[in-house]
Symmetry: C3
Subunit: 677 residues, 3 copies
């Protein structure tokens, strides 16, 4: 992603001048310059300001803001302001208000508060997008459209119920098909009329948010609500594109946010952007995985880091300050994984309401003599020097992990086998093992072309959707290595069990049959006992949560269980299939096992680490044309030596050369490029 108006890493963030007076704006201008800020996200929550009543629109303040910023060298990421409706609209047209999970009609308040199927909301949001597009289509400051803000939340109102029935007709065709997909003969829930169907919430089929009597309706409701919000996005997007076809359009996503199927969303976005809010104790490999997922949403295309805090957050239970250097380190971590922007929430701290204790480039004290501002300004300078060199560089990973929102919904909605199973955590265990080994890894959609990779891992691939098993078979047959686990291949896309033995359609390629699934009580463990040494794997490993009781049907039994009634039965198998291999990990193992397994598989394929860095140092690579940029990120609070591969490297941030090893300071960053002969 290289934007000709501003062909460098955009640097800036959310900016709300409407909360301040003109004398403050002057200070903003001065300090933005000091900080090297060149992009401001504006108009995110100004709907009520620009449209004070149904008839009136007033964009004077916005004209002024954009002109002022531009004349000061700051471009704009222009939001459409539809992330929160005005109070007058809620009073005049209550259909914009949501009904919540408990079945309660909400009143005006909060944000991300509009019913996605409200005719009023859709109408006025689209009009607003059109007015903005027409007004600023020729303004040179506008880099990109930022539609609404952090879409999320579900609604359960009567408008949604009606739209849900229509959605069901479109997706299932007949009521018979719905009854079949949801297995409504269970508990005698057969529907004889579309109108019999009510939305699944705490008043009908669900409780506690993710417990349900009927997985089918709950799964479809998640799809429907994700689609409904996406439809809102598309209405604005289409209007913007119609008028300003050349200005890219995005909306800011939220990593592993559970409610929306971002792979589906990303197809409608020109560029993915997202808001990165780890807490001080989030593992840095978890953040890395999330960046990789955001990169994977559009098949590896670079993304925007739309928001991060320069210092503290306000909404965590304990809002620790980012230690010195951490803001810079985490900014480059984003870049290392594919970000082409570094942006903050926010540029100036608000003085009132719930985000006033969220960090900003300009703090409440108002001047530049703060640690936070100094760190921001230093980073701004670096990014200016970096120019466009890294922009649009891509990952060259040979290993991919599949993540799928529908699969997640299926697991989370499942009644049984255990509450201890958390899909994202299981995915992270695999990512973390690879991350510790410094193996480049992509996070991909279940629809991605597996042939881009040599190794594809699908942890807890509970839901095996149409065609998935065939594509896995083709991938393995052609020499790929596929890894999946316990509780995989169990259901189809309607959460109906694949009869004939688990893991259903994957049974053939895996060469095993899972007869039983045993859930372990908290504190209970079993063991993975290797039948012999296999690559890096040897001895005995701990495991727990779930144990599939499996039989090899052609697969080699690599390890067996160490105890309980399935002692001696397979806990790890590998099946030779065509030219490739399919591994089945029948239980949830301790981290060391996964590290050894991943190492073994990578060795098989000759997949090398980016660098053989010590623990606590993260390394990634981005490729652009014939150039490779190696990012070295030291997450530790002491300096670390990182062995290089014999070549001489130049650090783009300092211009210094490194050979043999490089010494990375505490929380330091290097971007190494091989010196040309």
């Amino acid at each position: 992603m290289i934007n000709e108006k501003l062909p460098k890493m955009w640097y800036g963030g959310d900016y709300n001048p409407e909360q301040w007076d003109a004398d403050v704006w002057k200070e903003d201008d001065r300090m933005f310059k000091l900080a090297g800020i060149d992009v401001a996200t504006i108009n995110v929550f100004a709907w009520a300001l620009s449209q004070p009543d149904e008839e009136t629109y007033d964009f004077g303040w916005l004209d002024e803001t954009i002109d002022r910023l531009y004349s000061n060298g700051v471009y704009v990421c222009l939001a459409t302001s539809t992330g929160a409706h005005p109070a007058w609209m809620a009073r005049k047209y209550p259909d914009v208000l949501r009904v919540d999970y408990e079945g309660r009609k909400r009143k005006f308040g909060g944000r991300h508060n509009s019913c996605p199927n409200s005719p009023t909301y859709r109408k006025y949001a689209t009009i607003m997008a059109g007015k903005l597009a027409r007004r600023y289509k020729v303004h040179p400051a506008v880099l990109i459209w930022h539609v609404s803000n952090e879409y999320g939340g579900y609604c359960y109102c009567d408008n949604c119920a009606a739209a849900f029935r229509t959605w069901l007709q479109q997706h299932h065709g007949t009521l018979d098909a719905v009854n079949k997909a949801w297995n409504t003969r269970f508990w005698g829930h057969t529907f004889y009329d579309w109108e019999d169907i009510v939305v699944p919430n705490a008043l009908s089929e669900e409780w506690s948010g993710s417990r349900t009597n009927f997985q089918g309706i709950s799964l479809d409701y998640r799809r429907f609500q994700s689609d409904s919000l996406l439809e809102c996005y598309k209405l604005e997007r289409d209007e913007l594109k119609r008028i300003t076809p050349d200005i890219p359009v995005t909306t800011n996503l939220m990593g592993f946010y559970p409610e929306l199927d971002y792979f589906k969303w990303a197809k409608e976005m020109d560029v993915v952007s997202w808001d990165n809010y780890p807490s001080l104790d989030t593992p840095f490999s978890y953040t890395a995985m999330t960046h990789a997922l955001m990169r994977g949403l559009k098949g590896g295309q670079p993304f925007m880091l739309m928001e991060q805090t320069p210092s503290v957050q306000n909404w965590q239970p304990y809002n620790s300050a980012k230690r010195p250097g951490v803001m810079r380190l985490w900014s480059y971590q984003a870049v290392a994984h594919g970000a082409d922007t570094v942006m903050f929430f926010q540029l100036r701290r608000s003085i009132g309401a719930c985000e006033k204790y969220h960090g900003a480039v300009i703090e409440h004290v108002g001047h530049e003599h703060t640690r936070v501002f100094r760190e921001c300004a230093e980073l701004g300078k670096e990014l200016q020097q970096l120019g466009d060199r890294i922009l649009d560089a891509r990952s060259d990973a040979k290993v991919a992990i599949i993540y799928d929102w529908e699969n997640r919904w299926g697991i989370e909605l499942s009644s049984g086998p255990t509450v201890a199973l958390h899909y994202v955590d299981e995915v992270h265990k695999y990512y973390d093992a690879l991350h510790q080994l410094h193996i480049q890894t992509d996070m991909i959609s279940v629809e991605e072309d597996f042939r881009k990779y040599e190794v594809v891992i699908a942890p807890v691939m509970y839901m095996s959707k149409l065609g998935f098993a065939e594509r896995v078979e083709a991938f393995v047959a052609q020499g790929g290595t596929f890894v999946t686990t316990f509780f995989s291949g169990i259901v189809n896309e309607n959460d109906l069990v694949a009869l004939g033995g688990y893991p259903g359609e994957l049974r053939k390629v895996m060469g095993i049959w899972a007869e039983e699934i045993d859930a372990l009580l908290p504190g209970q463990h079993n063991q993975i006992v290797m039948r012999g040494r296999q690559g890096r794997l040897e001895g005995t490993y701990d495991c727990g949560i779930l144990c599939d009781v499996i039989h090899a049907e052609g697969a080699e039994v690599v390890a067996e269980y160490g105890s309980d009634y399935y002692q001696g039965m397979p806990s790890l198998t590998v099946n030779a299939f065509g030219q490739g291999k399919a591994w089945y990990v029948a239980t949830s193992p301790e981290p060391k096992f996964l590290k050894d397994l991943m190492q073994t598989i990578c060795n098989d394929h000759g997949i090398e680490p980016v660098l053989k860095a010590p623990q606590g140092v993260e390394v990634t690579r981005r490729i652009k044309e014939d150039k490779a940029f190696t990012f070295v990120l030291n997450h530790m609070s002491e300096s670390k030596s990182v062995p290089l591969d014999g070549d001489t490297y130049v650090d783009l941030l300092t211009g210094e050369e490194h050979r043999d090893t490089c010494e990375v300071p505490a929380r330091g960053v290097m971007i190494l490029e091989k010196r040309r002969g």
Copy 2:
């Protein structure tokens, strides 16, 4: 209970062919035969199928099913399908929908979802029962009626409010009597009009489910709702009996389920049946106690084990598989305590909705080559061989423990003295002590004839209802031993305190006065210090939760408290009363104390253990005419030696003879009958 159509332990369970196609039915037939299954519970949730709209009834599928099963040698336990109303009914007649504890009108969803005072529900449920009765009255396959399913849940709608007022008039007569019973002058709640009374829930007098401002209204509402559901049962039962007077009628109960007064229900049932779902870590003495309670509901009459899982459940947090042998062991545990059937939920696993991960005889894989199926088939064979030999055999216990739902409601609704007091747990402590001693013990109603027993124990008999104290006095006077505890005899049936000193009407027979009740903080303890040796009791024991500060008024002080301001005051007393004794346990003791106390009392009465089995082995006895069947159940995962009493015994399951000792394998079962000279 011997049914002439099928005079053996019925073996089978819930079966939902309406969820499957005809080709699957053929497999069912084949596999039922393999498994020795001879009874299927059908039509549990098929209301919507048999009555697709208000006017139409279609029992073709049911005719076909019953005929098919019968021609394959399988009888039916025929449910009336009223455990969940059809979706069309909810839409057309919203009065069938409940209002929940939070005051929210529910929408269609779930099961056990009908308002018990809904005119629509009552009307159509009764019609359905009548139609079924008329249609199948002469079908030889029908063994028993299974009305609705697992009745439960309360409703708080306006229909219930009106019915509650009528119920109150019937039970209290006048509004004055209600005001008195509820002590409404407290907080000025006096009612001057029946219409002033609203249902007690989170919008009025209650919160958190069991917290209430007025125990009186909350207690009556529990009685009323239990009666309302019972009325629904009776409407169907009466209709069935009118048409098929010779077919027995049951509904499946749920052990210690808190919401319904099963002693009252059992009076309306021909045979008690219940669903047994312990988790892997439920103490087996707790399951034993529950079986004993179900046996006690109808004064010792054998009961049906209506449901159990052959393998896993789906709704527990951690759904462990029943280990090999455990399904058989727990099946015989039910029989050992009075079950005359062994039945499962379910015969074939569903493919969709929330119970698809609940175990079944036929698993998703669909064939017989599974551990679970093999175990089921082996048990089926055994039960066939067993024939009718044990059917209708009875307990010969001389010890009984009183359990009472109204007493439980009173304790659970009480504001003070401590949240640490759990009635069922206190009851279980006594049962467990006797169970460890292998003393046959019945669980009885407060209305049972105490003279059947030599020892009657009433843990935490908080509510002393009309006539209870007199009956205790008569029992003790005639030589019985009565045991009760702290926080007993406090209130009458309206939860009004008996003035004049605790334990109220029991004060005379116990020979003590409880001046204060002290609640101990978590982690705080006191001691029961024996004043001398008394039978097996000696030394010092730990105690906690509540300590009654009592004075002996004629009773002998057997032990005193070891600390705090009531150190030296009585903690255990025994009162000679007529020819018997009355023990007062003033606090909640450690298990060893109860074992020693129970041993002491049983020795007094010459009550012997069934066998002197080691820990982990359960023994019970069932008597039939002149035969005694001794059940030996090894709950441990290693084999155990059990000393016999010198006679020679034959194991009904193997035909083998045992003398002196028998060696019971891990999770093994023996049913021993003394060899006839």
Copy 3:
């Protein structure tokens, strides 16, 4: 407070004869005499009895009760009975019923259940007050009016919404001012019409009770609801005063109850009264602090101990009995801190409803031969002997701690920086340190005249209201010592941040700038490392929760942080300002630090302990004219020696003389007066 009708410590409590029959009343009369009871609080919950319907009033029972009591020597504290509306009123006029935080209209039930803005409630409550006043204005038994009971709880109904808008107009003037005060441009919440404003609850801006999107509206709603209930009080108070101007008026408060701004309430009360319900494990310094707060509500005026239990409570999770002597000890603790009455809830235990397990002077057993009654009777005798000697004596504290309800609301509503910050606990840490040092300490309003004191401490003075900083400056300039802490001076009364650097307006007097606020994760700590010895302070202390990262701007750096990125930066500073000093404690320290700091500051001012008593012994002083009463309270279960100051003292309770040291028995109490010449 000396009442000429009964010039002694009133002794008695809540009494509900309407729950009993005439034969019980006779026993009451007899036993009150035995117990020395001379005051009964009556008519608290008898609205429904006195007004059985809209038209009818019947005070016959009350006439009889008052006459009976008075003829038996018992005066009355006469309640207005408006703490719970009658059931008929709720049915006829649903506007008296509240809408709860979840937006649900409540039904009849509970108490303290009336909407404070209900026209019906206000009308009939006022009428009732007037009728009572006219009827009993000349009755010699009436000592004081007790309006309603334990006011509390918020309502969210439409009447409240309308009243809220009016309140906002009165307090902010214009809608523009509201928008500004609430910073509504944040998230585009600008209001263009008063009607756009809805009440903040779980359906609009809030969740979980104290989480909010907009602190401004939530803060104002707390003020508004506190004012609304106060308005109800005032309507009754005005009516009473109009008719009986000479009878004092009170309502019973609840210590640190969070929902009402008692400083504002106290202005409208003739005398403060409150209900003291510590649990067995409440630190006695916490109870002491609460008494001090109640004394501080009216600037040091003695208060009434309106309620305490003689033995157990019923609503705590674990309701331990007060150990022997504890009721007497805690009664005198109240007196020691300014109480001029000792009163119980209640005189006779009810037999039904939720408070029947709450202790009373007369227990369910009904006679006087109980430990509890004996202790009550002994105390009654002592109080008779004590006469009026202590009445109206005052504290002579030189140290004061500021507590402020609006500040508390601000902190509790804050989104960030940490959920670990609990305002009252932080206040208690300071109070406890002084209490352990036996330094007399007052709890004062933020509006109190600081010049009464030498040392003023304002823990976590988050909200710096108009004029506060100036008054602190004046106080310090004139030689006072002021102490404040981290997270102080941050916002104004609208929760808008003071720009220009924390601690805002306090920055000048403190001589520091707080650049950052770091929240520590649970288990994380830092250290306060003294730069040298300062008074009692030396070495290193532990600290946590929040660490302000501060810069000295004139203040002396007394201690620095021991670790993390702000190691070496100030953690404790003291600023010389005029003739006084201002200490800034930048983090939440361990108790030992605060003890050393308080000792150091008191030494500076020559403030001496009341007595140098050992740990576990509490000492306080009350001054009356030229007399000083020293209270010595031994909270331990063993006797303690307390060194005196060389003079000879007489114990008012025994008449015994003490010199040099006095030996206070376990849970013993002495009231020492210096022997004259």
